[in-house]
Symmetry: C5
Subunit: 362 residues, 5 copies
């Protein structure tokens, strides 16, 4: 139940703009290049930063995929090759940034947050996109991403991807990032459904914790998805010179997906809030049940004990004590009193079928 310390790798306060913060455990920087024309695809692994542009043929679209943020020099070399503005480089390296879209002279910078379920745990990782005239560069924190289907589509040349240029490639990648949230939300939806069962059938204090955790995860998701909507919308609306009209049409679709994700998130959040209400009410119900048990037992036996106490007194002159039928009569009074009270509590619904009455309809 950690709040999660504040994660942003921010440079020392007052540092020169463009200062990069390299985390101790960061992964070594590695570059893959994929460049393709309608006819052919060439893939290069471990490309040195200095040869980035040299590996590209004319008329081809190039996807430069950088993974790992450990080597400041390599990153700066890449920036020099691609003419990345120091602020843009800082934004891509000092993760997590708020997702955003910014226009520079040489390219459009887009920063998204990629969600993945790995081993049942939700992982968020930042991806930076640079959309240039004939290339797209992506900068990721770690190996492992959601882009394999796009790589396949490029290799197999299915659809218009091989001929549609850099903006379409960027769209394909960003669309993949957004769509990857669908299965993540599905997972969260299933957990909420399980929580609902738990709240109704076997609520425990751990339930509260799980509701609380679910609310926090939804909060985190919303913080990631909300700016995505704005980023994609900006790409659709603004007349970026790096995004052509056709691709804009496709991005409109991606925008719809982002909005739909937000819709679902909002209804999940309301669901979680509702679960909390139900939980708190069931707690109060349990207290009520405990109270009822005590009240019934005590209210029946305390008066009876009093009667017994009266005839346990040692006064010399208590004529009832010496009567033959004193004892049976007192026993009878006790029985009548006891069952009378029992009947009354039953009629009030405090005993017997109380559980049925309360839960019967469920």
């Amino acid at each position: 139940m950690k709040v999660g310390p504040f994660h942003k790798r921010h440079p020392p306060v007052g540092a020169r703009p463009g200062t990069l913060v390299i985390e101790p455990g960061a992964q070594a920087t590695d570059i893959s290049v994929m460049d393709y024309t309608t006819e052919a695809v060439a893939e290069h692994e471990h490309v040195p930063a200095a040869e980035l542009r040299r590996s590209t043929r004319a008329e081809a679209t190039t996807w430069i995929d950088v993974r790992g943020l450990a080597n400041e020099e390599t990153l700066r070399a890449i920036a020099e090759q691609l003419k990345i503005h120091p602020l843009a480089l800082e934004d891509m390296v000092n993760a997590p940034q708020r997702p955003k879209s910014e226009l520079y002279d040489e390219h459009q910078l887009v920063i998204l947050r990629m969600a993945m379920m790995s081993d049942g745990a939700l992982q968020l990782e930042q991806v930076g996109f640079l959309i240039g005239k004939d290339y797209v560069a992506t900068i990721q924190e770690r190996d492992g991403d959601v882009f394999d289907p796009v790589r396949q589509r490029i290799r197999q040349g299915r659809g218009p991807i091989r001929s549609a240029g850099a903006a379409y490639l960027a769209y394909s990648l960003m669309d993949t990032v957004i769509d990857e949230y669908y299965p993540v939300l599905e997972k969260i939806g299933e957990e909420l459904a399980e929580l609902e069962d738990e709240v109704v059938e076997r609520a425990s204090r751990g339930t509260l914790r799980r509701i609380y955790d679910a609310k926090r995860r939804l909060l985190l998701m919303r913080r990631a998805v909300w700016p995505h909507r704005d980023v994609i919308n900006a790409l659709v609306r603004d007349e970026s010179p790096f995004v052509d009209a056709t691709t804009r049409l496709y991005l409109r679709d991606t925008y719809d997906h982002a909005v739909q994700l937000l819709d679902v998130l909002e209804s999940y959040r309301e669901t979680a809030a509702g679960l909390l209400d139900v939980y708190l009410s069931s707690q109060s119900n349990r207290t009520n049940e405990v109270m009822r048990t005590l009240t019934v037992t005590a209210s029946i036996f305390i008066p009876l004990t009093f009667i017994a106490g009266v005839y346990g007194m040692n006064f010399d002159a208590m004529p009832e004590l010496h009567s033959r039928i004193g004892y049976p009569i007192v026993l009878g009074i006790m029985l009548v009193t006891g069952f009378g009270l029992l009947w009354r509590f039953k009629r009030l619904g405090w005993i017997g079928k109380q559980d049925d009455r309360e839960d019967g309809a469920e």
Copy 2:
């Protein structure tokens, strides 16, 4: 009390845009065509996709009604005939989409969610509309819709429907979809009224569940109706070449209905929230009642039992025990104490007419 898993049929993440997702249990695709001029109406059932346009006469308005999403080939053939953009087709087939309105070169795409009460259960189904120059195509998930009154109006030629063109036909269909929410809301309103009675008169734990369910249903409805408002507003405001000025006037009316539905939904939501408050308060009231019973019983009999206990002690030298009037005096003290406490609790309103006092005004 399921959250309902996340329903959207989304294509595999990273798939080519325009990929269709055909659900296992989807209904076989079937096409009906109705084309009419001021003079005549022709209806064709089971029209093959390839003959879609051939069945149409000049100067006629055509309504192409596609039901069932099982046959990808048929759907793609329809798309080819009507020049549907792959993204538009994807939106219409991979339901549920967020309701939306988008302009393409050949037609205006509108996606709405249709609500129907069938056998007392609320059913939501997506309907896609393509509004062309001289035709309207609707794509539905299943047989069964709310359009029969419109079909009747076309057959009988009542009102301007036979002469007013494709946009007016689209308006009539969309208006029907929106208006169908009225009886659905009426039903929900009745349920809320019943819940109100239940909360006041016979609240049980099942009540909480029903309040919670009502809140969720209202949430679901709002998620459907809210974007409808925007969609219809966009059709009224934007200068779509497929919607003429007269029809726009009619759509303004439909827009008002959508807004009114939202108003009602909002007040229902506040009503449901109020019910929850009343329920929680009545729970707390019940606990209070139980406590009062216990307190009255115990506070009267515990002191009396103590007195009895004193005279049940076995000391040799307890002069009271040997007095003639010891026993009656002690009994008298007990009676006075008991009734004194009883009177006090009555004055505090903890016994007797407590129920009247609490519920009398209702």
Copy 3:
């Protein structure tokens, strides 16, 4: 405590636009016409629909007042005479509509909701206004309205009303509708003030119901008043050809009133929410008081009873029992214990002046 079923008289879903819904118990349609110039006023009762315009003199301003929605033919005849668009007629007849303002070729349509206190009960009724070049038509559901002062002003010729034209007449009527909410709000304010006293001094379960009812009434009022603000604002801002600049100045004043009503409503809503908090807290306070009584009684007498129980045991060898001073000593111990506990509870504030302490400041 009914939610109030969903009231709108909507036509059968899918019906032709312009379909009128005549309610069984609707009042028979009756038309009064008042037309006046600076010099003279003429009033006509029970005017036949066909002679509507004939009764009007040149240069006069005419107020056509239609009451009762039972006769569809009459209503349609009126519509024909005044060239009312079918959608406008539908909006005026199928009440309640959301208050709105719409411009048609022949006139400006305005729909407001009129509030009246009749016999202490709040009544809401729809009024439709058609503002033409030289006439105003009002369509009401029932006899009985708030317009009598305006009728008087016309008859007596006070102020500019006789010379200022149709728009000014419409303003006078609409202003009256809006201002009638002031006494209604005053009434609600008084009820809230009474509720406040009740919550503090004699809260019962009926109180909760009354708070809940007050909240619902405020919700209902807000749903009526909120769109009024927009309607009047639209008339002030938009350049309707039927509203001249001078009248617009007056409408600005009406707009201010609508905004002020909303302000008051909002603060009433917050007041009602605050009352709920106070009520719930006072409930919890009462439980606390009950608990304290139980705790004090039980905590004092249960230990004493135990002591008595010890000396009620029948062991042969209990030397205390045979001591002369055994009984007085035990009684003394009981007294000391009892008063000691009493003193402790008093110091904790659980008995005695507890009420003063809790309520003293009130």
Copy 4:
């Protein structure tokens, strides 16, 4: 704890626009005039309405200060002299209006609400401003205002006030009205601070009332301050012919003050809401404490009493009773049981240093 009936002096519904409502207890209308040039200041008391403009010299700036709203004729005479539109007059006389700014041909109308602490009680009074070419007229409900420092500045000729014209005078007066809220807020802030102490240290039911009152007062303040912000902003933004550019610069400063006041009000409101949470939680804590006392006492002595009860039974054959060591053994068992339970409850933290544990950190 009154809600405060709805105060607005509104004319009878349907009355002619411009109708003035004179309250029974209103103060007699009195006019002071102050007119000044850079060289000299002239002050006139009890100026007759008819001589309003005559008392003014050429090239001078005139401040006409009207106090008291009892004499309708005088007010109408003033209106005639200053060419006040009937609606403007109505707004200034029928207080309280929502603060607003409206442009008329002859002057700018501004209505503000003036807050004063008088004898520890918050007083709100409406002030209307008319800003003309060379005069400012203020209309107040009562004698007594916050303008004395401005009067001093005019008399002493400090700063630019004597030469800067009517708009600057109006700014000075309005700025004073806004700034007077600072000490009022300071007072409320101190009360909140006291309430905080009270909630933590000596919460009683009266505390709830005081929290509730504080919330209502903040609500009232917000209703007054919020429209001020809009009014001042409108004066800064709109190009009123009666407000010159230099004065607009000063008004920008006043606007900042209004925004800052709102900021403080919002944080006070959140503070008050937080106090309510703390209060409710402390109530629940007190119940818990009471319960613990009961539970500890009862759980220790009820079992012991049972043991005593067993050996108080009168069976002939109870060998323990005749044993020499029966009594001491049973007493021993009682002691061990009692202290065992005591130790257990201590370990659970239910007795002993409970208060320290709960409150220690405070």
Copy 5:
């Protein structure tokens, strides 16, 4: 738990605009000047106000750093030298103002709030910036600021700071102020994480206080950060003549940081609200636990005591008493009853492993 009195040093109400409020304990005013070209840096301490501009060389950028607000004359002398408008001076001296940005003829005024952690306590201090053509003036309340890294960068000539002009210097300083909030938020995040542990594991009444304090601190932070966003945005958007396009690019980055800080603050606020829910629920859980203990003990022993009471009665004719096996049988019944009830309560989960059951999953 003080609300913090309302801090703003506002001049006496009605005072002339531009009046400065010098606080009794204010620090003596001291001026440092740093002016630099690409080649050289000159630093001057304790510069007299009159020589402010004389110390500046041509073509240099000058940073005038004023600390301490005690000497009104010095401050007015500075204002005269730099041609500061009286309102601008008032804003900079009468702290705290709401952060804002205003354009004057001679310079751009920017007011920010600087946050520092000093000795674990959060300190907020106002900084005013005047951005002129070739100088930046900063006015701080006290010695001690967050600008040392910028001073170092100027001295060492790292990055473009020495050549990029006054606007870039201002950006560097403002960026430092904004970025200093990161470590402050980190600190608060850590405290929240600790609070989470405390709420779950060892909640006490002090916990509530700490949650409440955390909420207030977050509220305070938001009040500071929120307007920063608007201020920086205004600098980026508006075409201030004192901020060049390049610097605007850098400010866009600062804007992103401000937005991100707000994001984090919002999620912290929701976290704190969630903690409150968990705390309140755990309180209610503890009450439940106490109740259960009481109920189990009382419900078992009260009936048993009753049985013992019956056989402690002194009737002459109670045949059971004289039976040999009467005593063992009654003891047996007691054992069976007791263990039966025990077993029932165990099955209900009210005793034994209750803690495990409740907390096991955590």
